[in-house]
Amino acid sequence: MAAVMKSEPVYTSWKDIYRDKWQWDEVYWGSHCVDCYPGCCPMRVYVRDGIVWREEQSGSFDTIEEGVPDFNPMGCQKGACWSQSLYGPDRLLYPLKRVGERGEGKWNRVTWDEALTDIAGSMLDAIQEYGPHTIIREGTPEYSTVMSTVKFMATIGAQGIDMNGSINDFSIGLYETFGKFSPVSSADDWFHSELILIWHMNPVFTRIPFYHFIAEARYNGAEVVNISPDINPSHTHADYQVAINGATDAAFGLAIVQVILEEKIADWDFMREQTDLGYLVRSDNGKYLRETDVTGEGREDQMYQWDPDSGLKKADRGDCRLHGLQIALQGTFEATLADGSKVEVRPALELLRDHINANYTPELQQAITGVHPDTIRMLARKVAAKRTNIMLGYNACKFYHGDLIERAMCLVLAVSGNWGKQGTGIRSWASGMHEGEEIVMAKQAPGAQAAEAIIAAREAQFEAYKAKDPTATTEIAIRDITRLDNPPVASIPAFFWRDHCGYGERWNTPGWGDDSLPRSFDDYMNEAMSKGWWKEPPKDPPQVLIECGGNMLRRTRGGKTALLNTLWPKLKKIVTIDFRISQTALYADYVLPAAQHYEKIGFSIPTPHVLNLNLSDQATQPAGEARDEWDIYLALLKKMQELGKERGLTTYESYEGDTYNLEEMVNKYTLNGYFQDEEGNFDNEKLKDEGIRDSVLCGVLPFGTTLETLREEGHVRFIDMGVSPMGSAQASPIEKDKTFVPFRNHTEQGHPFPTYARRAQFYIDHEWFLEANEQLPTYKPNPRAGGNYPLGMTSGHNRWSIHAMNQANEVILGTHRGEPNIMVNPDDASDRGVEDDGLVRVYNDVGEFIVRVKIAPNVKPGQVISYNGWAGFQYTGWSGANEAEPGMVKWIGFAGGYGHLNHMPNEWQPIPVSRWTRCEFEKVENA
């Protein structure tokens, strides 16, 4: 690296003011260890006089693939002023104890010891009265807080609430189709696309560091289509805008499929190999023809295809490939059952054709979607001919029938052969490749040997699984083992809300769910429980809430008021650990100041989008009395131990019957003191170094990577996806000079999908799906959750903040109007006598909130856009948009007993939805 000497040593006076701003003492690698997903932006943090003065993207990524733009200089406006939150007015510097009522804003500064003594006491009370499962934490993807919180909760046997079940970043329709929800290409792979369908995503807001790959793909010849009811910011660089009616995307997708099949421009062999569309379905009962039908024994999940030469053929559960065999995709055949009787069978594709020809021709869909038939035909022909990539965000899954929308999207790709090769696919979310972090937490001793023992045990577990089922891949073994290992049921948020927050009534409200079902919501739920698909969770009232990284009152669908009225009175102690004041902190009993990302060592969330592990180093000492979370939890454990001794409490049992020993906890947490420095504080640096080394041993990071090398380079590219559930679900190799695409193992090696049917599954013959007429992807109208109101409220991540994290940042507040708004169409505003920037009350049967209006002709008439992530305290009465969200879950999430449709942590479970909630607004006078 060539050093450049400062030029012009002789300063002329006025310029020196500016030159002085361009000076620093030290530079560190930094990043933002939050789930801004992507994240992973390597920054340089410039320090002056011990204070972080500013940051700037490093621009240090090498070109990966020749002829594909590099990743530099990743970043966003939040990241460019992250340092503001170090010393800003929302920064927490000292432990605070509530002295008035909860939410009253009366605080006393207390010492750490006072705070920890009181909190530890309440935790022991909870343990002694009910057990440690009544100490709860919320799941969060805020990376810098996850590992320490998980480790602490596991050490004491407390309960975590499943992350995706609570925030619903779970692409449920992808899961139903692929048996996993998390395919993610590297962002540079978007450049290879020839057709980009931005569909339920707004990358102009949410993928700021990567958006350029879309613009560059367009210059490279790709066509970009933005599909959304509102002409949202991502339309700006699209070639086409499809202004679709809200929540009707399934009909639109199925019409594209209809054209591709009808015009015979489909990729038939891809469908034969990769999907279940060639599986035979019985005409008499609408179920798959199974081995148990044909032989009276064997596997219930063994299905059949039709070989034109030899008739019935067992669908290979271990290999998708057919080596040119043209199994039938159409026709009507006869199969003989074990009892000698005969049934008519047809390939699933035939049923699909009947279904879509009857309902979703380009002409028929227009009445639903408002999209012109010519547009459907034009797009269908392009999809069939081009490498197509669907840019999906976590928006579709937040619709009641989001699974149907996503299944239709997957079907579009299936009939056109669009996954498993560069420039194709559909995207979701994945992390977890930095496996060393998990290994470190499970180790019995420091060093390589202990790590290797875990790795070997893990391997042995996979091999044992595969020995029992030789058709299983390692991926399938990993998923099933994770599923069987599943954590206690109390961690499923839907049950938590039902039991402790009174949501059950809402779920059963007529009109708010799917009224076409023959039975009530409770009827389905009771059936699910009685069949043992889910375990009844313990009903004990939660006692202590530890909110670290999460922000329950801001984000929970169903609203702050609902939680304050139901959950809050049960809680004896509410503790928020954060570096800033959040909505939840305002209603807590204790607020403990954590170190901000530049004040502690960490990593940004590693994702396949960037494929790098990025170091965020400690650039400065924590401000005030703030501490690293690892250290806070250690101090809390010590305190519990101390108070336990006073109470004569040494051991206790968890709900599951495991024994926990207070005396051993500090040792467990610190690996027998190995992760403690001389003063007995937590040594996070040592932990990070150990984790990196263990990731090398796992084979996911290159040989020789250590904390020291990372301090040099700032980041290192992963070399393998490893064996975490989400990493292995990518099912693809990482090549050092190629963009990354998931699912290559499925398309190139024939690896089966981890579904019930072992292929991408479009026909789901689970009895509930048949009863609901959802065995095939189909369109169903969005329920009128919230009541009978004329407007529909939509959302999506905002541009200005990572969730609510940057909302109080004064620099960011200056880049918009400085307070929350809803966006509405000019006609809807003038009908209600509302002017731009006027104040309105938005209401429905659930609740209400008061907010300013931004009038924009790009909003669809009848639509109200309330971007997600404003802080609750930015609204009148601290009540935000979630006050009007009922917190519905689709009943189908309770389905079980069917291969991949069984509880899976972070994946299969009932998930809360909120989009297109019915509402109305009216003018209110300025407060």
Binding site: Y18, G105, V204, Q241, R799
Partner: protein, 342 residues
């Protein structure tokens, strides 16, 4: 370099700009965080069509008419808005049972640097908008320099950056009256005017300006206008796809823009009109002058080549395979600059 006059210029490719404000935040973090500069955003990004920042700046006059300096109006503090203080302490530690929301202290704002973000124009479903980053144009005929009565303003020979000797500035605000782009701010604390210095200390160190180097859209080209091997010359002078904003103002700006190509509009029957851009040609001409049409035609012809599977040199420049190629010789990484020991 001798006494040769050179001009630094920038090209913003509006087909890549996503209005993320990273450029404006990067600039603010570096230069305008002091009292008096806190409301100043030397680089702003606004949604077009819109009233922009300062509000209705296009109606404020300035520049040259028939070659003669034409003084306009200097924007008022309220035309800029922004620079707000918030009631943090009241919200977080207010000690009142009232739940006071986070709000601007004092008079509630009715304008700011990015007030009309994402509103745009047109009628649903043919609504349209695009993002326009703006900073001082470091004009070849800087009206501000001519208008300055105190001799504080000057244009450097070696790179054409327009600067103000802040010790000589007397705060008459004539520069702001003359600047047709209204990119000059008044520091009410210090009683002087201020504007974008094109990151002078960075340029001195060979580092691209913050708005360019920090733009995650990788769309801000930097370089000398006369550097025939550099992207600026190619885009502005050879391909002529980068055009100035409001060339009719007569100051010869040195910030250029690749004009935006929006999606195709939707006909009354809901079908798509394949032959038009939903951003009206008249709007683009009003913004960028008549040369915009040729620029758009060239862009579209070259885009058609790659869409048909062919190759285009122009597209290769705009794709920017290697990020550093945006910055001509200004590619020094700041961390490589040796700092003087304090």
């Amino acid at each position: 370099m001798g006494s040769k006059k050179r001009q630094l210029a920038m090209v913003f490719d509006l087909n890549k700009c996503i209005g993320c404000q990273t450029c404006s935040v990067a600039c603010k973090m570096l230069w305008t965080r002091d009292e008096g500069t806190d409301y100043q955003w030397w680089c702003t990004v606004n949604t077009i069509p819109g009233r922009g920042s300062p509000r209705d700046w296009e109606q404020m006059g300035g520049g040259y008419k028939d070659g003669k300096l034409s003084m306009g109006k200097a924007p008022e503090r309220s035309d800029f808005g922004g620079g707000w203080d918030f009631n943090y302490d009241e919200v977080f530690y207010g000690k009142s049972a009232e739940k006071v929301p986070l709000r601007v202290v004092g008079e509630q704002p009715d304008w700011g640097p990015n007030w009309d973000e994402d509103q745009g124009g047109g009628e649903y479903p043919n609504s349209y908008y695009y993002y326009l980053p703006r900073l001082c144009n470091h004009c070849t005929n800087p009206a501000c320099v001519e208008a300055c009565p105190s001799g504080a303003m000057y244009k450097r020979d070696q790179d054409g950056i327009v600067l103000r000797d802040e010790s000589a500035c007397q705060g008459t605000r004539k520069c702001a009256e003359a600047c047709p782009y209204k990119k000059i701010y008044f520091n009410h604390q210090r009683g002087i005017s201020q504007h974008c210095i094109m990151c002078l200390p960075r340029i001195e160190d060979g580092v691209a300006p913050a708005c360019a180097r920090q733009c995650p859209g990788r769309l801000v080209f930097v370089g000398y206008l006369d550097d025939e091997s550099g992207p600026i010359h190619k885009l502005v002078s050879e391909w002529k796809v980068a055009v100035a904003l409001h060339p009719e103002y007569g100051t010869k700006p040195n910030i250029f823009y690749v004009p935006p190509i929006g999606p195709k509009p939707i006909n009354d029957d809901g079908s798509i009109d394949e032959n038009r851009n939903r951003i009206p040609d008249e709007l683009l001409e009003q913004q960028f002058g008549p040369d915009v049409h040729q620029a758009l035609a060239t862009l579209q012809a070259e885009m058609a080549k790659t869409k048909a599977g062919g190759q285009s040199d122009l597209m290769d420049i705009l794709i920017v395979y290697e990020w550093k190629h945006l910055f001509s010789e200004f590619t020094v990484d700041p961390v490589d600059i040796e700092q003087e020991a304090n």
